[in-house]
């Protein structure tokens, strides 16, 4: 048994979501009595690679092909397949993010490996290999058995607690053989978003809905986000009305998020919205309508007018932050 984790770096840096994958992989490795190999691309300095060791990755393979500077799912799948074969990986772990979702299915075909996407916990059994995943948009979970010899999973973000587990690392560079045709999709340009925290990365999200009446009223939402070090998100009508950018839309047809704390302000909680946020650890709802369905799903609720409650709450958060 060998475990391979795909650790994506962004301009040479790792994000917390990668440490979550490594922590998870190290826990599975312990169960199986094996070790964890992390694979990444590009040229990274040793200090950065050592960060992976802090969470339990013993071996780190860097694929150095310059062609991989541009993302191509096809090319990445070729490269990672070769690394997987080199270390005889039985279990390959990706994050359930745009990259993992693009590469993992291709690898699944290449290796005839069963793929469980959107896994939310450690395997409940290693033989047969059984993992829990979200189904029906979070309205239920399923235990999935992967029957093939090689297994692939994509782990949902924020489903496993990041913990340090320092080990000594060995590093290795690897040049993959990638056929020419693997770059048929040409990147033209990347348009960077506002530089704010992405909704899927945020540990706290302050979310506004149509109850806020207009984009001019988002000042107090952004203020709360700033006090809490949170990201901002919104409901579908708000992004459809262009009050907020589409990248902030969370829900069934927007982004699916699982922050530690989700504060919904002026959102009634339609089932499609809940499907995108019901993985949140704690949900707070502020709404004028006591019948709003969101109160049934929430942990804490305030029935009241956002325009009165939110400024008061911001003051209380500020006071709390000053004291803690």
């Amino acid at each position: 048994m060998a475990i391979l984790i795909y650790t994506q770096n962004y301009d040479g840096k790792f994000k917390k979501s990668v440490f979550e994958l490594v922590t998870y992989g190290a826990a599975v490795a312990k169960e199986l009595g094996t070790e964890v190999t992390a694979v990444t691309t590009g040229k990274l300095d040793t200090e950065t690679l050592k960060e992976l060791g802090k969470y339990g990755a013993e071996k780190i393979i860097t694929i150095t092909n310059e062609e991989l500077n541009d993302f191509s799912a096809q090319a990445y799948a070729y490269a990672i397949e070769q690394v997987a074969k080199k270390i005889n990986a039985d279990l390959i772990i990706f994050g359930n993010n745009p990259y993992g979702r693009a590469i993992a299915p291709r690898l699944s075909v290449k290796l005839n490996a069963g793929l469980a996407a959107g896994v939310t916990a450690l395997p409940s059994s290693v033989s047969p290999f059984t993992v829990k995943k979200r189904v029906f948009s979070g309205k239920a979970f399923a235990d999935v058995v992967i029957k093939s010899e090689t297994k692939i999973i994509t782990l949902n973000q924020n489903s496993y607690k990041v913990e340090e587990n320092p080990v000594d690392i060995s590093t290795e560079e690897f040049t993959a053989e990638i056929p020419e045709g693997a770059y048929a999709v040409k990147p033209i340009e990347t348009v960077k978003s506002s530089g704010k925290m992405s909704v899927t990365d945020a540990e706290i999200l302050v979310s506004g809905g149509r109850g806020l009446k207009g984009p001019e009223n988002w000042g107090m939402i952004e203020e709360m986000a700033e006090i809490l070090g949170a990201g901002t998100s919104c409901s579908r009508p708000v992004s459809d009305l262009d009050w907020r950018p589409h990248e902030e839309h969370v829900g069934q047809t927007g982004k699916v998020v699982a922050p530690n704390l989700y504060i919904a302000i002026g959102i009634s909680g339609a089932i499609q919205h809940l499907a995108g946020v019901n993985g949140s650890k704690v949900m707070v709802v502020i709404n004028t309508d006591p019948e709003a369905p969101f109160f049934e799903a929430a942990d804490y609720g305030i029935i009241g007018d956002a325009f009165e409650v939110v400024p008061k709450l911001n003051e209380a958060f500020k006071k709390f932050k000053a004291e803690n």
Partner: protein, 249 residues
């Protein structure tokens, strides 16, 4: 151009989800089925492009038993030209992808379009698997989709921004939010429904592919304790609870 679009037969998004047989089977009683929302978005986009003058033949493909035919007929009533149904229970994703790849090989299609993810088993794996079976390039979760001559112009939301891409045929893409910029629901009219009955729906038998995953049990989420209500005049209490009880700030 010939487009092959995957149409999923999934429970309506407002369905109450229940299980039977000791929580090993999805309870289909009282469930209303719909076209997967992302697939409907993709079909709407294709129909919009065709209405705007792109020459296009649209074939739908569904892996499923005869029960899926009303959903397939709905896609035909919306405006797809014909349909293929692979006569098999849709279960393992590798199995489904292999069937769709086979349908593609047996026709002279230029592009395969899927939804970003199915809302039932939330796989989100099909487009990558189909593309790999066919050794074709692909983009997952495109947030914009245009055809200009023999070029496909796409956008994809990535972490921290938007990536603009260009591809050529043959190609595989899955549709995410934004794929159809102003989706006007295409509600089939009587004429559409009547013509859909006469449109060709070809049934083919599946090719061999071992299922490598299996769902052995379902769970419903633990019921949440009732929401704690806080007096709007005492918001400090909420801050205290978030800190001391929920420990999230």
């Amino acid at each position: 151009m010939k487009a092959l679009i995957c149409i999923g037969h999934v429970p309506d998004t407002t369905s109450k989800i229940k299980f039977t047989d000791n929580d090993t089977k999805f309870d289909t009683a009282d469930i209303k089925y719909i076209i997967g929302p992302y697939e409907e978005l993709a079909l709407t986009r294709l129909l919009d492009l065709r209405d705007a003058g792109t020459d296009m033949h649209i074939t739908t493909v569904t892996v499923g038993t005869q029960e899926t035919e009303p959903t397939i007929r709905k896609a035909l009533a919306m405006g797809a030209d014909d349909a293929v149904r692979v006569n098999a229970e849709a279960s393992d994703n590798l199995f489904i992808a292999k069937q769709i790849a086979e349908v593609f090989k047996n026709g002279d299609y230029d592009i395969i379009i899927t939804g970003k993810e199915s809302i039932d088993y939330n796989g989100g794996q099909l487009e990558g698997m189909i593309a790999e079976f066919l050794n074709l390039p692909s983009v997952s979760g495109a947030s914009k989709f245009d055809i200009e001559g023999d070029k496909i112009l796409l956008e994809q939301e990535i972490e921290g921004g938007t990536l603009k891409l260009e591809a050529s045929f043959p190609f595989v893409v899955s549709a995410g939010k934004g794929f159809c910029p102003e989706p006007e629901p295409r509600i089939p009219n009587m004429r559409g429904i009547m013509t859909a009955r006469k449109k060709p729906l070809q049934v083919v038998e599946p090719v061999d592919q071992d299922a490598v995953t299996e769902i052995i049990k379902y769970h419903l989420p633990e019921p949440k304790p009732a929401c704690k209500m806080i007096d709007p005049d005492n918001v400090e209490e909420l801050v205290r609870l978030l800190h001391e009880e929920a420990k999230v700030i």
